[in-house]
């Protein structure tokens, strides 16, 4: 029982660097010069800020959906392959994730730039050059590019762990390929889908550098807003209020995902 | 008295969060004995083993080893070694280093370690396997490494927690014989936990039958089989026909609508009892040999088991389980006979 002592250094660390900062956010969000106030929160819920928040959520939602639509087939196809090939290919799909996230984003900046590769290609085909960089589509593209592996991995993991006998049983019971997929494979892979969605959606809401590099600062997202409050304006009060709102949002979406996961789990269990 | 026994448990109880796992256990184990703790899962047999090994502290009661209270002796200082259920071989060590582990902890000289490990590997028929990795061994081989790893420390007592549970039937039979031979040769006390009554009957000197944390019966295999003390033991050790009955008087018992002579006495007159009859003790007779008053029934099912048939016979509303070497067919009328010494009388379960 003495072994619990081993966790003590980490417990202290946690208290200082995880727990206390959270309290600080709460403190600054609800005080002004030491006095309790709701002014920061009221400012945080201002229409202009809310607009930014809604834009961020909408963008994150579309990015997540795209990641799911593109990523699920990849994961599925990989999981149906021979073990060796699948392992190798899955490594290929994950390698870009190991590159610095800013470099990955920067690569698209290079591709999309007005004097960049894609535009040169268009012009050489005698087509008019397009404004590709600094558009909302570019930001969306950057998000999908960065977050796609986070969708593929959990789905792939769940699919490969799935017992092949489920599929064989479905086949045996007369289901064709499509029916097997929609009635057995998809429901059973829901836990993977949900964790993929969580891993994409939450970072996507709070993404920060992508909008600056690919959107050129023209599409202010919630992350940029918070940077402004803290680093430019040095306004800890309203910045903390924004963080607080963001945290509540994260907690809500986590709760929704957990619930969906539990339901998916139950559905999976029903299949047994 | 107590210096004669190797291990003694006095009034040992163990509770987990208010649930009693063991209740007032009194037990002693002799030097060189092969003692088996037998019972269904959840009966407390593994808890008892872990108390002896020192992994679990009893909630109350005393445990003595060679007359000394071991309450405050941690497992690594007890002269007891364990063969774990799933072997618990160290995956990062090869066979030799697994077996040598305990000796290295004791910092024995290298040459002696080598000698003793090799002797043990030879004993368990794994000579030349020292360099192998544990995962490369089959289940039976892993089992033997686990035994060697425990025995190499020359423990006073070897504790075995369902050690053959993971092996297939044929391998299990072979290992039973091997284990028993090893125990007799080394003269070490074995305390063996199993839920397999057949295993217990083949290997043990003494069997302790446990149920819900309470000892039901302690005795030699023959005693437990032939003279089960209650219906639970009778039912658990081999198959049995168990019927409610009434003791008419000494040596006379009534059940299933008839009165039979028996060899038991002392239950009083007109007292409710439970009657146990082993399937092999019911004799099947041709109808012609049964008197007008004899038992008869209709064969409900038959199952060929190799040496014998397992048949079910319905007689006066009770379905008898019978083992016989006579071939009969479903639907036949047959006669039955139960000799007095085949009828075991016990007090009814509370």
């Amino acid at each position: 029982m003495k072994r619990t002592v081993f966790a003590a250094p980490y417990a202290v660390w946690m208290a200082i660097f995880i727990f206390a900062p959270m309290l600080l956010i709460g403190y600054y969000a609800f005080t002004d010069g030491g006095d309790f106030t709701l002014a920061n929160m009221r400012a945080g819920l201002d229409a202009m800020y809310m607009q930014v928040l809604i834009r961020s959520i909408w963008l994150a939602f579309r990015a997540t959906l795209l990641c799911l639509l593109l990523g699920y087939p990849i994961a599925y196809l990989l999981s149906r392959m021979k073990h060796g090939t699948a392992t190798l290919l899955s490594v290929f799909f994950v390698v870009p994730m190991w590159m610095n996230f800013l470099l990955r984003t920067y690569a698209w900046q290079v591709l999309l730039d007005s004097g960049g590769i894609l535009n040169s290609l268009l012009i050489s085909l005698n087509m008019p050059g397009q404004q590709l960089l600094y558009t909302e589509a570019a930001v969306l593209l950057g998000m999908v590019y960065n977050f796609l592996p986070f969708m593929i991995l959990p789905v792939y993991t769940v699919l490969t762990k799935m017992d092949a006998s489920h599929i064989e049983a479905a086949r045996d019971l007369g289901a064709n390929g499509m029916q097997t997929f929609f009635r057995v494979v998809l429901p059973l892979s829901m836990p993977g889908v949900i964790s993929g969605v969580t891993m994409v959606f939450i970072p996507a809401i709070t993404t920060f550098a992508i909008s600056r590099l690919l959107g050129g600062g023209m599409f202010m997202l919630y992350g940029d807003l918070m940077e402004n409050q803290f680093l430019l304006l040095n306004d800890w009060g309203s910045g903390s209020a924004l963080s607080f709102i963001l945290l509540i949002l994260v907690i809500i979406s986590m709760a929704v995902m957990r619930r969906a996961e539990r339901q998916a789990g139950e559905e999976g269990a029903k299949l047994w | 008295m107590s210096d004669k026994h190797l291990i003694e448990l006095f009034d040992v109880s163990k509770e987990y969060d208010g649930d009693a796992a063991l209740k007032n256990i009194d037990l002693y184990v002799n030097h060189g004995e092969f003692l088996t703790l037998l019972g269904p899962s959840g009966c407390g047999k593994t808890t008892m083993l872990r108390i002896i090994a020192g992994f679990v502290m009893p909630s109350s009661g005393r445990v003595l080893m060679e007359g000394r209270d071991v309450a405050h002796i941690p497992p690594y200082k007890r002269k007891v070694n364990t063969v774990f259920q799933k072997y618990a071989l160290f995956p990062h060590l090869n066979v030799f280093d697994n077996v040598a582990f305990g000796l290295k902890i004791k910092k024995l000289p290298k040459a002696e370690i080598e000698r003793r490990v090799n002797t043990l590997l030879e004993l368990v028929n794994l000579k030349g396997y020292g360099k192998r990795w544990v995962e490369q061994l089959s289940g039976g081989q892993q089992q033997r490494v686990a035994i060697a790893r425990a025995l190499v420390n020359e423990p006073e007592v070897l504790l075995l927690d369902e050690p053959l549970g993971a092996l297939d039937l044929q391998l299990r039979k072979g290992m039973q014989v091997e284990l028993k031979r090893m125990q007799q040769r080394l003269g070490i006390t074995f305390i063996y936990v199993t839920h397999d009554q057949e295993e217990a009957l083949t290997m043990s000197d003494t069997i302790v039958v446990l149920r819900e944390g309470v000892i039901q019966q302690i005795g030699a295999p023959q005693d437990i089989y032939n003279e089960p003390r209650n219906a639970f033991v009778a039912d658990f050790i081999g198959e049995s026909n168990i019927l409610p009955g009434m003791m008419a008087c000494d040596y006379r018992v009534r059940f299933n609508g008839r009165e039979y002579p028996c060899v038991d006495a002392g239950f009083g007159e007109e007292q409710p009892v439970e009657v146990v009859v082993r399937p092999e003790d019911v004799d099947i007779l041709p109808l012609a040999q049964v008197g007008g008053n004899g038992m008869r029934g209709v064969v409900k099912s038959t199952l060929f088991m190799g040496v014998h048939y397992e048949i079910q016979v319905v007689s006066d509303g009770y379905t008898w389980m019978v083992h016989t070497t006579d071939a009969v067919d479903v639907g036949w009328q047959v006669g039955m006979q139960i000799l007095p010494d085949a009828i075991h009388i016990m007090r009814p379960r509370p």
Binding site: L24, M99, N100, L102, Y106, I117, I202 | F90, L137
Partner: protein, 273 residues
């Protein structure tokens, strides 16, 4: 026939997706060897950007910061995280759940909030040194990942192994060092690698929590904001090659081991059959 068509589509889809993932990287690599500064036109092979990269003292300093912070934070986080996991493993369920949930915060929290909250606490306690801030921040977000890689191994390693060591005469501490830690070593190693790469990759937390010190991410960000810079192309190429080499080494090793184990198993199976 149908099957072949289907396979063709499957292959095409995977190929397109790989193209999508790799094309930007490939372009970066190709143009890092371009003599011209503008990306659109290729004016010939050249290593000037590599020379410029290594001549850039700022970038080299940033690289040094990134590597040393990654190494230091990964080592410290691995040690602290492993012991924390071991400690938490033997806790009562209630206490353990509380600690587990709090330590999940940096994982669940958006990086942005983690970075900002760390910035606030550093300012609050008056820690000014940018490098120390960076290091503390990276340790903080690394530890949970170490715990998450070690804890499942601990759960797998079953108490039986630990008990077997005690049974064979180890004191609890000896059992920990000789049996438990070797048994969970794969988890510790993968925790370390994860921590190291997370630290290399991090931008958001670093950007907010530190001041006055630039690691590579921060430096790239400040350069990329001002537009394309071929020096970054060269840097990306080098980093990509390094990552791929590292991954190949790790993967080939594990594939080989797997294959060796596989043949062994088959041999054993044949023998026992």
């Amino acid at each position: 026939m149908v099957k072949r068509v289907r396979n063709f589509f499957k292959g095409t889809y995977l190929g397109l997706m790989l193209l999508f993932l790799y094309a930007p990287i490939a372009v970066l690599i190709v143009y890092s060897f371009n003599a011209s500064k503008t990306m659109g036109n290729w004016t010939g092979f050249s290593l000037i950007w590599y020379r410029a990269l290594f001549g850039d003292a700022m970038i080299m300093r940033a690289l040094g910061v990134t590597l040393s912070v990654a190494a230091l934070s990964a080592v410290i986080a691995t040690i602290m995280g492993t012991f924390a996991a071991i400690g938490m493993h033997s806790m009562k369920k209630g206490t353990r759940l509380v600690i587990e949930n709090i330590s999940q915060l940096p994982v669940v929290n958006p990086d942005l909030v983690t970075g900002i909250s760390l910035m606030m606490i550093f300012a609050f306690i008056g820690l000014k040194d940018g490098y120390t801030r960076l290091l503390l921040a990276h340790i903080t977000f690394n530890i949970p990942y170490v715990i998450f890689s070690v804890a499942p191994k601990l759960r797998q390693s079953s108490n039986e192994l630990y008990e077997a060591a005690l049974d064979l005469g180890c004191t609890p501490l000896e059992a920990l060092i000789k049996v438990v830690i070797p048994d969970i070593m794969p988890g510790i190693v993968s925790g370390f690698i994860l921590a190291f790469t997370l630290s290399l990759d991090d931008f958001v937390v670093s950007y907010f929590s530190t001041q006055g010190v630039e690691n590579l991410s921060i430096y790239i960000y400040s350069m990329a904001r001002r537009g394309i810079n071929p020096k970054i192309n060269a840097l990306s190429t080098l980093m990509f090659v390094a990552v791929v080499t590292l991954l190949l080494i790790v993967n080939i090793k594990s594939i080989r081991e797997e294959r060796a184990a596989d043949t062994q198993r088959r041999k054993v199976a044949k023998k026992t059959a």
